[in-house]
Amino acid sequence: MKTDQLISRLAADTPAQRSSPALRLGLAAAASCLLAGAAMMLSFGPRPDFAAAVATWRFDMKFAVTLTLAATAFLLLRRAIYPEGLEQAPFWTIFAAPAILLAAAAVELALLPASTWGVAAVGTNWWHCLALVPAFGLAPLAIGLWALRQGATTRPMLSGFLVGLFAGGVGATFYAANCPDDSPLFVLAWYPVGILALGLVGALAGRRMLRW
């Protein structure tokens, strides 16, 4: 087909306005939180001493880390939906969550005697953590990839990875409400495994799904 023919065909297809990709991404994020929250409430629920735990810095630190991760990943995703959006994007912001976690871990190392470091890091049910962070993050990952498909990212793999990190942040936030281990050493040892697994799945899925 000649380019001119293509142009007249495209022009004849009267542009019907579609809703903005940013709006869809926002809705997707809201739906992600609802679904991950529902999954947590319907499966294991928040830990019994939730109200008392909120008063401790270690418990709150977990949310500072996971919410920061979800928020920074979301802000980058808001750029990723546009073709030129990730040019010169502030990718360094994604390191805010790891930085908070590392700082908290450093404080923990200073507070605890060296003999108890191992116990704090291994915690009581790390296998729960490894399974539930990805489990709660699965729906956000799927919804996030769907929302990105409505946009036009020119970095499919990187965008998929960011969706995975967002899903990991949301999944870990709800898992943290259930998780009985609060030591930053435990969080540092186990949370990243599930989150990075979601990131990896997101990157691989993104490479296939987010091309256009």
């Binding site: 142009i7 542009p15 903005s20 990709p21 030129e84 256009w212």
Partner: protein, 175 residues
């Protein structure tokens, strides 16, 4: 161009045609310059794929943002994609990749150039402006322009040359 696209998004078919023609020309120039050696005869395929992508993804242009970075990023994405598809068997020297990696600069230069062209054409009076932008920016022939603007071919020729010399006078030698 942004105005054309805004008009197009609110249903103006003629503006959309104009926009797509300009987009096709800009893409052709940019792709030829940057990827011509790798794509050779495939350049026109990339132009068409870019136009199709522009059409399908037009909702990802934010109407308050400049349109050229959006267009050129899509064109680059499609061109790199086409290079990769061919690159499976074709040996690509590393210098070419370096050039791809250095992409944004080149895109910026093209963008500046295009903006200058548009600005220069914008300084012309109504009739000359329509003729010059139809021929120089949208790549129509003199015949097509005459038909589109309902003018005689000689009148189009005269307006085109007067327009170009007006630009030359104002901005130095025409590009």
């Amino acid at each position: 161009m942004a105005e054309l696209m805004r008009a197009a998004l609110s249903g103006d078919e003629a503006a959309y045609t104009s926009f797509l023609r300009r987009a096709a020309n800009l893409t052709r120039r940019a792709v030829t310059r940057r990827f011509g050696s790798m794509l050779a005869s495939g350049t026109e395929d990339v132009v068409q794929e870019t136009l199709l992508a522009v059409h399908l993804k037009r909702h990802t242009w934010r109407i308050e943002e400049p349109i050229l970075p959006w267009l050129f990023t899509i064109a680059r994405y499609k061109a790199i994609d086409a290079c990769r598809r061919r690159g499976v068997r074709v040996e690509v020297p590393i210098e070419d990749f370096a050039e791809v990696l250095a992409g944004p600069d080149e895109t910026g230069r093209l963008m500046e150039e295009t903006q200058h062209m548009e600005m220069a054409v914008g300084t012309l009076s109504g009739g000359q402006q329509r003729v010059v932008s139809s021929i120089a920016l949208e790549g129509r022939t003199i015949k097509e322009t005459a038909a589109a603007l309902e003018m005689k071919e000689t009148a189009v020729r005269v307006a085109f040359h007067r327009g170009l010399s007006a630009i030359a006078q104002r901005f130095g030698r025409p590009a």
